[in-house]
Symmetry: D2
Subunit: 326 residues, 4 copies
């Protein structure tokens, strides 16, 4: 990102150390009554999963406290706290957000857990199917919830299977899950070691875990997993964590995250140039340039954008700037 000049504070007083005023507030742990009220509560996700708050460390004021050490002391009014947190988020000064920590108990299908666990910055204790019998529950799909493969966006899905075919699919899902469970239980009864008996359980089987992560890394997780191109299942968990828990825990940070991360727009060097041409009325120059650079191709008398140009189109729409090649 291009860095603009301009600092955070105008006042400029000399000081030799972290002030006692700052120090004296720390005689007890920070706590958040709105969050204390939901400790232990299960927020349901999917057909049989959940997210449950176990414990937390810090709050919005902990972020302010840490930032004032690292970036200099500012004033103490609540409005200024908010301004500071928003400044940190906007400029990606991430370390103060690491000063908060969240600990959850989650119940998640193994298939979703395979994506979840790729976030390496959390601490994890997962339910062991070497020691214990595997949880007897799996993700079920309603007949009208079978998503169609998106052939434009190879990763995603688009639309749903018709209900009748969906009904057949859901029936077969129940059958195969029951069959897999039966195989598993037969093995256990025959004395096969749990660690081996589990090998043919379906990926849809639920697992549980304690998951502990700091706020900076949690927001990174939420950013990736709340996005529309994240898979539906993990998106459900991310939205639950975000809107049911984080929004209560650190409301100022949560709002700043929505404003500056989730709902922001990035323009590349090239896009900046194109926008500045468009806003100064040089529409033809944009088309010529984008044709020259293979962003637009003439096909059957029409200008066809390539992938990056299609992304640019979406951005222009958001900015309410007319797309010149339409």
């Amino acid at each position: 990102m291009i860095s603009r000049p301009g600092g955070m504070h105008r006042t400029d007083e000399v000081r030799g150390q972290m002030t006692d005023a700052v120090n004296e507030i720390h005689k007890t742990r920070n706590s958040v009554p709105e969050l204390d009220a939901i400790i232990g509560e299960k927020f349901p996700v999917l057909n049989d999963g959940f997210v449950r708050l176990i414990d937390y460390l810090g709050d919005d004021s902990s972020i302010v406290q840490a930032a004032r050490v690292s970036y200099g002391k500012g004033a103490k009014k609540r409005s200024q706290d908010e301004e500071l947190i928003r400044y940190l988020m906007r400029h990606r000064h991430t370390s103060p957000f690491e000063m908060c920590e969240l600990k959850l108990h989650v119940r998640v299908p193994m298939d979703t857990w395979r994506q979840w666990i790729r976030h390496r910055t959390a601490s994890v204790n997962e339910y062991s199917t070497r020691y214990s019998i595997a949880i007897d529950a799996a993700v079920k799909t309603e007949p009208d919830h079978w998503r169609l493969q998106d052939y434009v966006n190879r990763q995603g899905s688009a639309g749903f299977l018709d209900s009748e075919t969906g009904k057949t699919m859901s029936d077969r899902e129940s059958e195969i899950q029951a069959a897999c469970r039966k195989v598993y239980e037969n093995r256990i009864e025959a004395g096969v070691a749990r660690e081996q008996a589990r090998k043919d359980l379906p990926l849809s089987t639920y697992t549980e875990a304690y998951w502990k992560i700091d706020l900076h890394n949690l927001l990174h997780f939420l950013h990736l997993r709340m996005k529309l191109n994240a898979q539906y299942e993990i998106r459900e968990y991310a939205n639950t964590i975000g809107y049911k828990i984080v929004s209560k825990w650190v409301p100022i940070t949560w709002q700043a995250f929505l404003d500056y991360e989730m709902n922001s727009l990035m323009l590349s060097k090239y896009e900046i140039e194109m926008v500045s041409l468009l806003t100064s009325g040089q529409v033809e120059a944009v088309i010529d340039r984008m044709k020259k650079d293979d962003f637009l191709k003439l096909k059957d008398g029409k200008l066809v954008p390539n992938l990056e140009a299609m992304e640019f189109e979406s951005k222009l729409e958001i900015l309410k700037i007319p797309v010149p090649w339409r």
Copy 2:
């Protein structure tokens, strides 16, 4: 960021595993002749520091190789490799960039090293002043290189001391450095343990280290430390690493990094709304809204922007959109 629909590949062939074609290319290590040519060369930085390439793992093609496993197989032409790398950078698909690794030998003032080492994702072996005599070199400042404190941006600097005062400063710098060294050497001669004798060496003393980091984390380091608001000294190191080494090692990635990270522009949710109002001609609505939200304040008959609005001003200038309150 708002995620736009649209996937990476249009073709869609079924396959059951990583193809042999992909596999067969790996009979030798990837190497980059342009980089091999500078192994061991010292690139000077500051008055007595340097950056030196020791070893590396992977190249642009390693990123492509990893991405094709994670995001599906694409075609194999060089132009498509470039398209893929640029796609990954644009969409912050970071894991393929972790597949490359760089190892440097650096000589850096301890003061700068204190900032450098805050990047926790690298492997480090620093020269030990417990085992060995401290390096007898310190950063010297030329008379016209004493930077003035920036009182708007409390973190930064702005302009320079006049040469005459600068000359006095530089002389005193030499004296205090010599005095500190003398104290150090006296202690060593008296038999004081090195680990204790070093305690009053100035922060300007040089240290050396091996520093090894993967490309994703290196680019994050460079992004933060090449920015104009990074301190001059570490910026010199970051620019040397970027322009002298990374640009030769992974030229496609480097260009994508400049286009999509270093020189991109982020618009917040609020700024998106303001821009879309401006591009549809609703200038008064913008001013009213920003006054209402305290982004603009009327002072002595003039509209004065707050800090965030000043940042917005800079963005409007870049986009060549007239600032409505001027």
Copy 3:
């Protein structure tokens, strides 16, 4: 661990910086001919998995080089290199081992991958079953390879199912795997999104990934996963990586790892006291103390050790010290 006095080097020469002699050797990348010879080769594991070397960075001499910066310069003979590496391993000076990096291509059952991926310090690009069709292969179990649950050690397995029952188990395994695959393929054919179609694939399904990790963290992985109480499947992968690849790559480090990590013995504070009593002939004192501390309990006229005392028994056997309560 109790730290004994005694340093690494006796000679003591003053120096002011990393010597040019050290520096001059770095005009080319370090390479290991024995390892270059096996780049791209697949080492088979289980019925259809493999481990394949893709690339590496550094060798035994890179560790020595880094250690000499951090711990002071020593002599240059090969025998002294070996002494230094063994010293580092013995005293857990781990940072020099981070200076080496290994990159593998692996094919692993998802069930095993779930354990593998818990090691968070590696870089990973896994084959995507959102973008691509799932690999059509699963772990098969031979009729005489069905392991029995170990009811003493709840985590492990002990002995095997009889061949006849095993035959039935293996037949059912084939059936359920075929049934799951059929469900998967039906879904794909009906147009269900890959990301959803895969949800009932069995955990035994193979996946593939690039996996890159530094030597320190690799040895930690191998230590945990080569141990006898690690699950058989991942142990097979760990042994293949260790004995087929690491042993050729960094032979001195590998031997030190076997001597000081894999085959070492840890005595707790309590065990140290008991051993020192035993070696000075105070057998009765040991029994009295261990009874008092509930390590031994009198049951039906016999002394029964608790879990920790049973572990101590095993250690005494290894040290060829008679177990006093037998």
Copy 4:
């Protein structure tokens, strides 16, 4: 380490998920009254440093809770909790200890901070001398606290300078620190940017920081920094954190750490063989073997141990086994 068979639990009941009994206890945050009582208190270290508890997450019972998910459910009595924590520590099952988190405010000389910050697994917000005036305090050394260089152990120190020479050293220390501060203040007065003015401050200058780390990584830090070969200054901080704070926070874990980590003894494969020969009376075999392997060398008619053999000597002394070559 050699892994001995033997599991943690004998009982073996089937269960399908984390029990409600376990779940119901979590309606409030875990808290530790002994620790709450010292929140905000400054524990002094060195002449002007301190360690201060800000906040924490979890306690001994959080470790038990996490372990029971990962390693199977056990009974619930306090004695069994203790047994479980000690088992985890002994067998280095580290992940449950990551479920606890400690947050401190520390005041440390920059020289010590340079070592401290090498532990990369913590979250840090350090006092900024770019934004703020450097803290006006430095480590002072009493005349009889100047440590002599240890010429056997190149890293360490041994004994003290005589008081008279020490007095001279302490006087010069005061002078050079005052001179450095004066240079710094002159620069600030002349308008030099803080980020540049600080460059010749001595390493003895104090800094402050918030430091947050999980219990597993904290114990690793303490293990390395409480050891006798750690530098005196950082050892003082480590001991303060350990004995004043951690011991109150997680008393069971702390005791297990002392018994199994700090005061344990590691025998290498070779040392195991030598000990087992010695305890079965084969003293000559040991001497022959160690001569053959160059652990012992005949010099002037005496057997001289090499470095590793000297370490072995210390271990034999601890185990009260006579050293055969003396």
